[in-house]
């Protein structure tokens, strides 16, 4: 009987969004009378930071500072249609819809500015600080604040735009079953080191080293935040979490935070995160969906590390001490 050490590696491809009957999200953008911009969505921020990212995308597209944009996700009854925040699709789908809506709003904004400055709209550019300038003659300019006031009170224009992003449904080919369920894949690889006590079956994760390829990180600190939390959730999936430990028997399922265990602050593995940025072809400013996949590669990596340590393949999650001990017993017989 001994503490045995093992190392496991796993790599994954993860699709952004889902197929089903098509995967649409819509967005609306409009300006307030003072030149702030409102993004209306039915997509919901679960804490992953969607509002911040949508504000950044809208601001980048229109050409204003991010703090001039307000994102309203208040009501799925009255907001433009969104399939929802799941399948790592929020940034990719809603982001593309916001870009389209913001482009249309920007065009109206430039048209109103062109009327005020008596130039062609195509000769105008934004400075990113809230002003519209004549290309090559930046002394001739107007603030977006004044453009919005003009649109609202003088020109009778609505500085607004509609955005729609749809990944159409992909049907399988009848002969081969081949299909294209997703247009955009994120990737990850994890190496996990564990110690397994072959007397108690207990697994301790010593280190997890993760590499994530996530397209462009639109907000690098928030990406890192999600990946660090996700890596920890992956270990939790691998070793702890289930509502039905003896499925389909419902006995002994956790019913509260005391019984449905996840690693606590004292159970953390040494964690390393490396982000690779390879902008995606169809993502907003190159983004992909890193949301769910960041909790995936740790699971097979830990299972492989357990195999490396004690020579048993556990193919049911979570990898509990009981499952390891039963497998060791079966192996010995």
């Amino acid at each position: 009987m001994a503490i045995r050490r093992g190392r496991g590696v796993a790599a994954i491809n993860y699709p952004t969004g889902m197929n089903l009957g098509g995967d649409p999200t819509q967005a609306l953008v409009h300006s307030t009378p003072t030149g702030n911009f409102m993004v209306t969505l039915s997509s919901v921020d679960l804490g992953q930071g969607m509002k911040q990212i949508m504000a950044q995308i809208c601001a980048e597209t229109i050409g204003v500072p991010t703090d001039r944009v307000v994102v309203d996700t208040a009501d799925t009854d009255t907001g433009p249609h969104c399939m929802g925040t799941f399948a790592s699709r929020g940034t990719h789908r809603a982001g593309n819809a916001v870009i389209q809506a913001a482009k249309e709003a920007r065009q109206v904004m430039l048209e109103v500015a062109a009327e005020e400055l008596e130039v062609n709209a195509s000769d105008l550019e934004t400075d990113g600080q809230g002003n519209i300038l004549v290309k090559g003659a930046p002394q001739k300019s107007i603030s977006i604040f004044d453009v919005a006031l003009s649109a609202h009170f003088k020109r009778g224009r609505s500085i607004s735009g509609r955005g729609m992003f749809l990944i159409p449904r992909s049907y399988p080919e009848k002969e081969t079953g081949a299909m294209k369920p997703s247009t955009c894949y994120a990737h990850a690889c994890t190496v996990a080191e564990v110690e397994v006590d072959d007397e108690t079956g207990e697994v301790t994760v010593l280190t997890v080293k993760n590499v994530f390829e996530i397209g462009r990180a639109l907000n690098p600190k928030m990406v890192e935040q999600q990946l660090v939390g996700g890596s920890w959730m992956g270990i939790s999936h691998a070793l702890y979490e289930t509502t039905e430990p003896y499925y389909p028997n419902r006995d002994h399922g956790g019913t509260d935070f005391n019984q449905y265990l996840m690693p606590g602050p004292g159970d953390l593995a040494e964690t390393e995160i490396i982000v690779l940025e390879r902008p995606s072809g169809d993502g907003p400013y190159g983004a992909k969906g890193p949301g769910e996949m960041c909790a995936n590669p740790q699971i097979p990596a830990v299972a492989n590390a357990v195999f490396d340590a004690v020579g048993v393949r556990i193919d049911t999650l979570p990898i509990t001490p009981e499952r390891i001990l039963r497998a060791l017993k079966a192996q010995a017989n």
């Binding site: 939390g229 890596s231 920890w232 935070f257 005391n258």
Partner: protein, 160 residues
Amino acid sequence: MAKVPVQFTLNGSEKAEFVDGGTTLLNALRDKIGDTSPKGGCHQGTCGACSVIVDGELRLSCLTLAETCNGATITTTSGLAEGGVLHPLQRAFLDTFASQCGFCTPGMIMAAKVLLDHTPNPSRDEVVEALSGNICRCTGYEPIIQAVLTAARANSQNAA
């Protein structure tokens, strides 16, 4: 049932309310007084989201009866910022991205404040111990541990 009068000091202000007997401090704060910074995560003392400071000690407001807090001095996370300037712990939580959905954050900050009030320069193990009664399901805890250590460093630099 007869109402019970309760008086205490909340974040420096005198509060007086009539509550039903058996009302928890959590419900009194949220529903009667309107301080929604303590969160009701489990209502059974296992998650720590409702943590507040009562007379200098960390307390689970979901397991504390409001009527036992007569005359007490209570601090919640909504009372930490002074004049629009965030408390060093709040600043550190922002700077280290230690909050995602935010539901555990007020309880975490309360637990961290009690730690730093008693132990201004804690070790990592002391931070882990202090946070071990508070559950977070987003961050993986590491950013929260870093936030508390960052706030402790900021405090010691200000003191020096």
